[in-house]
Structure formats: C-alpha cells, structure tokens
Symmetry: C2
Subunit: 318 residues, 2 copies
C-alpha cells in the first residue's frame, strides 16, 4: 500500500497479532513497527515468559496453533508431563517447542542483552522480518486488583481463568519504565501517518503500552491518524475477558465502551457489522465509525481488515 | 542381605548407576548411601545440569533408556528441534522430559535449596527412596587438560566426543568444596562395613569424589572393606573413554591399571571372567581378586553382581 508514511500498531494477544499479520501482508517491512505489550511478561520456573511477544512472533511466522488459539501448532507436552511427575509448579502450560523460546530468551537476558534485541533476533531466526518492538526493555507487570488479592496477570488469566472480579488494573513498574528505543523512534517519526490500536484487550493489552511514559505524549503530539479496531463484537470479546472486565469496571460491554475508553485518543473506530447500530452514536461522539466484517478467520480476512483500517486512517488524514 | 552394616557406593555414570541399582535391590533403604559424582555438572542455557545424579535417579526409578544408554526411555526432542530453529546452542541434547529435571533443579537452587535437598526431593517424586548424596553441594568442575585447551567435562565428553588427547584431569573447586552432609555422615558411620567403588570411570567419575576434602581421610580411617568393581573388561571400557584415558595418561588399559590407580585404597577388585588371567597379578599386588561375570545386562545381573561384591567385602572384613 503506497502513499502512507510509517504505520505503528499497538498490539497485545491473539486478536492483535492477527491484525499485525494482516498489516505485514500489505505494508513494506520498513513502513511498519509493531509495538507489543510486555505487561503479561512474567518469571515462571526461572524463565522469562513474554506471552504477547511470542504470540506476535509465532503468528507472523505462521507457526501459531489456530485451533487452540495460543502457542505453536504441532506442540508437544513432554516437559509438562515430566514436570507434573516431579511435583513442579504446573499451572502454566509450557510446550516443548515453546520452551526453547523462553530458555533462549532467559539465557540472553541473563547475559545482558535487551528484550528488544533478543526479540528481534529470535523473530528473525523464525523468518520474521517485521519490526517488532517490545513496549519497554524494563519490567512492567500488569496486576489485576480484586477484592481478595492483587493477581499477577498470568495468575489471573491462566491460573484463575479470569474468574475473580476485578476492581482495578494497574501496571507495576510502568512509571519508571523507559519506552524501548524502537518504539520511541517509530512513535516520533516525522512521517508517522497512522497508529493502529489493534483489536486487543483495551485494559490488559493496550493500556499497559499507553502507561509507559512517552506513549500518550507522542500520540498527543503526532499528526498521524489514530484508529482503533474494536475487540468487542456484539457485546462480547471473541476471546478473553475484555467484556467481563468492562462490566466489572462499570461499563456496558460494546463498541461505545471501547470508544469511551479511548476517548480523546482515537479519531476512528473499526467495528463489526454486528455493531452497525452503534455507528451513529460513535459519530455523535466524534469518532469516525467504519462498519465492516472484523472477524479474522483466514489470512485473507486479516489482510483485508488491515487494508480497510489503513484506508480509514488515510481518509482521516485528508 | 543381613549381617553387613552400612554400605556406601561411590558412583558416576551409567555403569555405576547399574551397580547402585543392584545394591538397592539387595539392601534395605537405610543400609545404603550412594555418593554421586557432581564433577560433570555444568550450567547450560542457564540451567544446572547434573548428568551423573540424573543417571542414578533415572536408573533407580527404572526410567532410563537402556538402548541409548543415557537419558529417559520414551524421551522426545521437541525442545531441541525448536532450539536449533532459533539458532540456540544445541551441542548438548536435552530431552523434553529430562528438561523438567533441569528446570526444576535450577529453580530450587536459585531459591536457595541445596543440591542434596533437591536431589532427594526429585528422586522421591520419581518413587526412588534410596539415599542419594551428591558428593558436594558446592561446585566442583572436572576439567580435561589437553594440548590445545582446558575443556569442561561436557565439552570434552559430549561436545568433542572424547576425541582430544588428555594430558591431565583436574577438579576445579574441589579443594574448597565441602563434602555433603549425607556423604560425610555415611562415610564416618561407626557401622560402616563396605565402601564400593562402582564400575565408573576412575578418572572422571570416582576421582572427583575422592578429590573432595574428607573423602580420602574417611576412607583411610574406616575399618570398612573397600572394594572396587573394574569398569575395564578385556582392556576396554563398556562405555566411555576410560581405556582411552588410561593410554593417554600412561597406563596399559586393564584391570591391573585400575588396581594401580586405586592403590592403597582398595582391598579387593571385582574383575570380569575375561580378565581372569590377571587375578594372580592382582593378588601379588595385595588386592583380592574376584573373577565373575561383570557385564550387567539385566536387572538380575545387577543384583547378582551387587551381591557378589558385598559378599567379597564381607569376606575381607572377616
């Protein structure tokens, strides 16, 4: 797609990775930077696990398991069965192949390499040339505050299957975290034309990125169009707890709640045909709606939605 | 087997583990302590690998791969294939199931547990009740000195397939290492009746144990019979570089070289029928020979050789 300058995608888990995949199919490598949430990162069994980075890398590499919705296709589970036999901490599944990523990442972090450098190297090893920038090389940890406890993201998401009622979400370390070099460079490019908030969980995937000092400032300063793609379709999230969290945090799950969450930030919102009835209310809020099929099943769906989202951004810029 | 007091086995790799298995079949749990070499231990990919401990644990648990001669039966290799794909350091094979042992051991070491405590806990998780004592909880690293380089044991053994010519072997850290509590307690028991030097590589598996301060002293002081089982049969090792090392270090590979290596330490040596011709020369050296079938193929072989070795020790004590 010619005519656009640089594009930045802010991206979290599976839905975000799918749109990022679509963007890589229609943009030259040097025209796109994918900034990925690292608030889900955690230390497990002594290993540094970066779930959102791996989801993006595996998706762009064409290695994701499309049925299970996470991890690698053709994964095996010998490590987990042996770990359970040893009485190890087995609440978080680590596939045998996936484990190589965590072991290698941890080894290189311990050796002093940055998460950014490691992410680039491991992605390239899997044939991924896209510019993937962790939001920060410093630790930021998403904490879900519930009545009973403050849960690290993976404890909440995997360990507790998102069952506890959230009263707040905070991003431990975000205040002191430095935006990664690649993320900062992309967000402050003079030729930045579009920033896409991918259809990722606003609270758990996009907000941590926005919480890193410098991101909101850069977005306030840029002339680029800022467009979100709603992760909520017909009042529900395709995957994950976005709708449940909206209810718990006092919003009516829907595309209007997405627009309200991103109020003052986005100029347009891509919504699904199922939510066409809300288009007028979006427009009344000053958010340009684009109504389209936003469920990405095939690679063609991903590329089409990416193209439509970029066209919308180009329209805003005119 | 009644009548004997406590038995200590000094043990390294596969051959040693087989005899240790035999000993567990004929002795009550509280009558046997297996002291295991940790000179082969190393840090790999950030994980603490203890090959000899794992060989003993897996063998006693009945989980060893008997065909391949190391590691777990039914092992899978997804991690290694993914690690190679990532361009990781893949010269040392870590099976998917085996990896759980290394990850869990490393996690617990980092949390401050001793190698002794971890070894006991992981062995029990696999149903092994035998007393397995790492020779030390402190790091000792076997170094093979060659003309070109000083090679860590695994680099020599696995990485270089034992090809370099050794001029010396040293045990880095041994001088400062403390004998593990369980090893010290076993070696200084008043009812210690037999110390068995298992058919392990004398240079690479038994010598590191003997190099830990306190071991030779305890063996010099004990009234127990000290009996070795030759790892050399007909001038060759069944497995590993023992015979090659003997040549390189100036000895003629054979049971007499084993006896000479353990001179002043052992009172008897169990040798294979193939080496019966050397029995008289052993006796002339003051070492009581026992000639028997020493190749352990079946579990019954292991138990029989263990029983014959203990009977020999009992005879020495009379």
């Amino acid at each position: 797609m010619k005519g656009l300058g640089h594009v930045v995608a802010l991206c979290g888990g599976v839905g975000g990775a799918k749109l990022a995949f679509g963007l890589t199919k229609i943009l030259p490598v040097d025209q796109l930077t994918i900034i990925v949430n690292t608030g889900d990162d955690f230390e497990h069994l002594g290993l540094h696990v970066s779930p959102d980075i791996d989801t993006v890398v595996y998706t762009l590499a064409g290695l994701s398991d499309r049925e299970r919705g996470w991890g690698l296709a053709g994964e095996t589970w010998g490590f987990m069965s042996a770990l359970r036999r040893l009485g190890g901490d087995a609440w978080f599944n680590l596939g045998d192949h996936d484990l190589a990523m965590h072991v290698e990442r941890t080894r290189r972090l311990t050796a002093g390499e940055s998460l950014s450098a490691i992410t680039g190297a491991l992605a390239r090893a899997l044939g991924v040339t896209a510019n993937i920038a962790p939001m920060s090389d410093d630790p930021v940890r998403t904490i879900v505050v519930t009545d009973d406890a403050e849960l690290g993201f993976q404890r909440y998401f995997v360990g507790e299957q998102c069952r506890p009622v959230a009263s707040a979400i905070r991003f431990q370390g975000a205040g002191e975290a430095r935006l990664s070099e690649a993320a900062r460079a992309a967000l402050t490019r003079p030729d930045l034309e579009a920033v896409i908030l991918c259809p990722s969980n606003p609270y758990l995937s996009i907000d941590p990125i926005l919480a890193v000092p410098g991101v909101r400032e850069a977005l306030a300063r840029t002339d680029a169009a800022i467009v979100a793609v709603s992760p909520i379709i017909g009042g529900e999230a395709l995957k994950g707890p976005a709708a449940k969290l909206m209810r718990e945090l006092g919003a009516e799950p829907g595309v209007l709640a997405v627009a309200d969450h991103y109020r003052g930030l986005i100029g347009a919102l891509v919504i699904d045909d199922a939510d066409a009835a809300d288009a007028a209310a979006l427009a009344a809020r000053g958010v340009v709606p684009l109504v389209t099929g936003s469920v990405m099943i095939t690679d063609a769906d991903r590329a089409r939605l990416a193209a439509e989202t970029l066209e919308l951004a180009r329209t805003l810029r005119k």
